[in-house]
Symmetry: C2
Subunit: 349 residues, 2 copies
């Protein structure tokens, strides 16, 4: 799509105006607000051309133009200029995130909340993907007869645990044995290389009757695997009701219903960030119709990646109306991500 300079300026101006006013922009309004050195008639010709190219559209015959999804895409890809945060904004974000407690999950959550508050949109994080992280410790604690707590420590100091059922007559002593044996054999292994078989063989050392082995193997295995399950956290859904974009009740309903389906959203965000991500510092941007999730076609997704150590990463980002100030939102996410990464680094060193 090779647009000449003036067409680019016009599209840029239309997006800017429409984003800030939520009113279709006409040729006259365009002349008034931007200093084009041509007349409105010329702009009308340009706009007709842009419409033929599929970059802008009319809600109805006698209205101004609004950007189409492809228009936003063009804008984001090649027209938009990046924003710099003000010092105030920076220090605000830094304070909020640094003032947070020591727990990594709390930290990520705080970063996400900050994002929603600062943009006025929905923000989200995906729990860290641990499949590449490796096992540093595994302990089993007897809680009461028939119940034990499996504690798993992963690289970068991530801790997970799960209460599991065990055969009733196992003693604390025996549990310790098993746990030591498993730990010795599995420490250093990445999570995605741990299978039911490796867990089973790792227990060979502890001399526990074969009969009760199966249950423990299974429970230990699920405890480990559960650590790697994918969770999503969404914040600020209600803020979307303030936006004119969702001022019609049916649109608002649609939006909130779609967002309430955590699993679907998580799956979608997960798809956006493939496992072997080539460029981790980049943003994934999906606009309007590009989004293959039902009911979110008036939205845009902007997500990026945070890191815990070298092996572990997760995603953080924003879901807003597609009519948003992309440059502002992206720079907010960028700075929050950086601040978060730094704080995590300090925490895990």
């Amino acid at each position: 799509m090779a647009l000449d300079v003036r067409k680019k300026q016009v599209l840029d101006a239309i997006v800017d105006d429409y984003v800030s006013t939520y009113e279709p922009v006409g040729s006259k309004a365009l002349i008034e607000r931007h200093n084009f050195s041509v007349s409105s008639a010329t702009l009308r010709n340009e706009m007709a051309e842009l419409e033929r190219l599929g970059l802008i559209e009319k809600p109805h015959t006698s209205a101004g133009r609004i950007p189409s999804d492809r228009g936003y895409r063009e804008y984001v890809n090649s027209l938009m200029s990046y924003d710099n945060l003000t010092d105030d904004e920076r220090s605000d974000i830094e304070e909020r995130i640094s003032g947070s407690v020591d727990d990594i999950t709390d930290l990520i959550k705080t970063a996400t909340d900050t994002l929603s508050e600062r943009t006025g949109f929905v923000s989200l994080y995906m729990s860290p993907r641990l499949h590449k992280s490796f096992l540093k410790q595994l302990k089993m604690l007897m809680i009461e007869p028939g119940k034990a707590l499996v504690v798993i420590v992963l690289s970068a100091g991530v801790v997970k645990d799960k209460v599991v059922r065990i055969p009733n007559f196992l003693t604390g002593e025996q549990i310790m044995h098993i746990s030591d044996s498993v730990e010795q054999n599995l420490t250093g292994k990445p999570l995605d290389e741990i299978t039911l078989v490796t867990v089973a063989t790792s227990m060979k050392g502890a001399d526990i009757p074969e009969a009760m082995m199966n249950q423990i193997v299974y429970e230990a295995y699920t405890a480990i695997k559960q650590a790697d399950s994918l969770n999503i956290y969404l914040e600020g859904e209600n803020k979307m009701l303030q936006l004119p974009d969702f001022g019609e009740l049916s649109k608002a309903r649609n939006l909130l219903d779609s967002l309430s389906n955590d699993g679907m959203v998580a799956g979608y965000v997960n798809e956006l960030h493939p496992m072997d991500e080539p460029n981790e510092d980049s943003f994934m941007i999906r606009i309007g119709q590009e989004i293959t999730l039902d009911g979110l076609q008036d939205c845009s997704f902007i997500t990026t990646t945070y890191k815990i150590g070298d092996d572990i990463s997760g995603n953080i980002g924003v879901i807003g109306p597609k009519r948003m100030e992309y440059s502002k939102v992206i720079s907010q996410i960028d700075f929050v991500r950086k601040t978060l990464n730094n704080k995590i680094k300090r925490l895990t060193e």
Copy 2:
């Protein structure tokens, strides 16, 4: 408020009709739908009287009547007949809750989700109040230099844990010592009797240099206290947008904004259920203006109590529009509570 029989019938009919139609009920409609053996004129007189008593009101001069908050209250207190669930409903609830996993929190969450799904309203649970539960075990696990995991096992098998910072040069050995010492001295104590002082004295046994004691005492103490912090979980906020009661965008906004403030809602529900609750099987019902939480004056709260063992309890309930079928909702909550209590009992035995 001593109402004669017919006034009661009229109020009852008005509430029933209004709840099911969301239309103000007039004297004629009342005659048509219920077989009163008097004329509409007589009913008009009765209605005028009920209005004088503050039990019903008119949206405007030429409209029918709708129940006032006091009208709903009167209805709930003395008119409403209790509903019995159908066998289908019972088995549906039982299946959903019994199909859930073994973790108590998951179980309560499932029960809450069920409640929202079955009523179409917002449901909630408050995390168990643990202040009366007593300490059964306390273990500290070294995770890496400077970091330990405190695992706390409470009565009824409730497990809590927290990662804490410890002095860098403490060895795993020393941590074990401290943990054993604390455990020995505090086991059997109710959480609300554990203070900074008792924690400190409990560590006297482990011979750790005085200097680093303070930090550990503090961290152990906060770990214990955090176990008792009050959390709330809300489910189904978006469902409220389907209701005509919140069909105006401003009302919907108001509602969701209020509900998004978890802390406020938690505080309110907590107030409703005083610590030394006299009758644990009862329902707390708050209707419309009775609710002292901003922005929820078109709602009703109905909450009750679930139990984990003898010492631990929490709350579960529903927030819906005040125009709701109270008897149905109450019986749903009642049955969910019973099912939940049973399942918890089986789980903790």
